[in-house]
Amino acid sequence: MKRSLAFISFWNILVKDMRTYYLKPPNISWGIIFPLAWTGMFFIRSGSGLSGIMSLLPGVVALSILFGTTSLLAVTITFEKKSRSFERLLLAPISLEQLLLAKTSGAIIFGVVNAFVPVLMASIIADLRGVKWGYFLAAVVLIAMASTFLGLFIAVAVSEVFEAQTFSNFFRFPMVFLCGLFFPVSKLPIFLRPLSYVLPLTYGADILHGAVNNGSNALPYWLDFLVLAGFSLGLFALSLRNVKRRWIR
């Protein structure tokens, strides 16, 4: 009985968010066109031929997930808090953990779907048979989780939608350069490198590089996975604490 309550409310929150936000034209365009644009831009401008595609793919995949997920939370969380409909969820007889998981799982799924837009594009022009799909998929899911929870952390910390957007850019744009997406962290000036290692995307991109380009990862996989999972858990726990402290006051 308890289990079915948890499941029914979880599923319906997810479906409602999908219907009202994710599958709406603005988000489809944000979620699908945006990765397409990234992909096109990088693949075309790189000018390094087909081999270049394989070295760019991990970075483009990571960015598609990062931008696709973080931008959604501003709507599903910050906007609903501002318009007070979030109160309805807080009044429901479900735990806050469950509630936040339901509100974020849609974004995670959306991020995973986004990741495969550039993969599909690349598969048309490049040979992807050498990719280790197991590692690839696991990395995609974990990156989607870590960036969704980063988005959640931001969405919970602010009170206006525009603040959420501004604040997330504060994290997102440095990540484009610092996380080893398009050139290895080892090529960064030494004083910037510590910064790279406090950003979750660095570890996700490392797995993707390894999976796509045959073991070119700089760190062992287990360490990457562990750190990424740690980030996800940590960000989720922080967000949970913030909701408890700031929203139920």
């Binding site: 309550l5 309805r88 009044l91 007889p93 479900i94 139920i248």
Partner: protein
Amino acid sequence: MEINIRPIKDERVDNRAFREKAISEINADEVIIVRNLVKSYGPVRAVDGISFSVREGELFGFLGPNGAGKTTTINLLTGLARPDSGEILLAGIDVKKNPAAAKFQIGVVPDESNLYPELSGFDNLCFCAALYGMRKAERQRRARELLEFFGLSEAADRKFGDYSKGMKRKLTIAAGLIHRPRILFLDEPTTGIDVASARQIRQLIAGLNQQGTTIFLTTHYIEEAERLCQRIAFIVSGRIVRVDNLENLLQPLRGQFNLLLTFAEAVNTSGELQEKISSAFPDFIFEWVNGCELRVRSTRPIAVGPLVRFFEDEGCEILEARRIHPSLEEVFVELTGIEAEQMKKEKEIKEKPGQ
């Protein structure tokens, strides 16, 4: 000759019989128990050590001006705010120890509609039902039933965002009832709504209460509290000034009973008649409102029969005798020092910009 005895206010939702019933049930269960509840926001003591209880089936009113702490109290009781100290029991459940179980017992209608503007009325209700773990068939059945009850069946498939204010309020109340809660919290349910819709909503609330739902209602309209509630708490600056049932609240100040007699035609109110009346009824005070209307006051209940007979003998036909209930407004002003009109005005000014 026919004499109608009816209350002077036409719009009165007659909740009186039920009111008396609730009052007589002395052992009734207390479904809301609040003890020494305190909540501060920075330097502001929004709720300053309040205690009260509400019995099962009661319609309990929380009456107070802006910033008195009404919304804060609802937030504390419903888990949207955390008390600094104090105890809250809902249907015997300690909300601190078992918040989820307590949440099943309560429905909440906030002061602003907080449903999803982009979903239809029907989908909004189904979604709310799902939050309480109801299954699909049951959700849809319950949603239709509530839409019907609130007269919103026609608008079921329209987006909530396109509803009028009154319709929004009704659907928000429906959403609060979706899981058949034992206790319904209503935060200023008729504020910001036109007179006709407000009246309809009051009737719906009285109806719900008569069907057995315990209702906790906040309002800053004194007449609303008087019309609807069986017991009322006056709250000012986070403190409860007085809690009592309506009869007891009205008792001390009125100490007097008023009757308004309406005559079929203008009566000659010369000194002679006046003298006769006074000597026949020495305990009553008589005031002519105009030639056709006479106000009778007394410190004891006024029996209508002797008066009617007396005037008949004098050749004056009485069309109607109406009891005038002393108003809660005077009691409120006396206890709080706040003028009712003042309270209403402040509220309206405050609300204008938002509309």
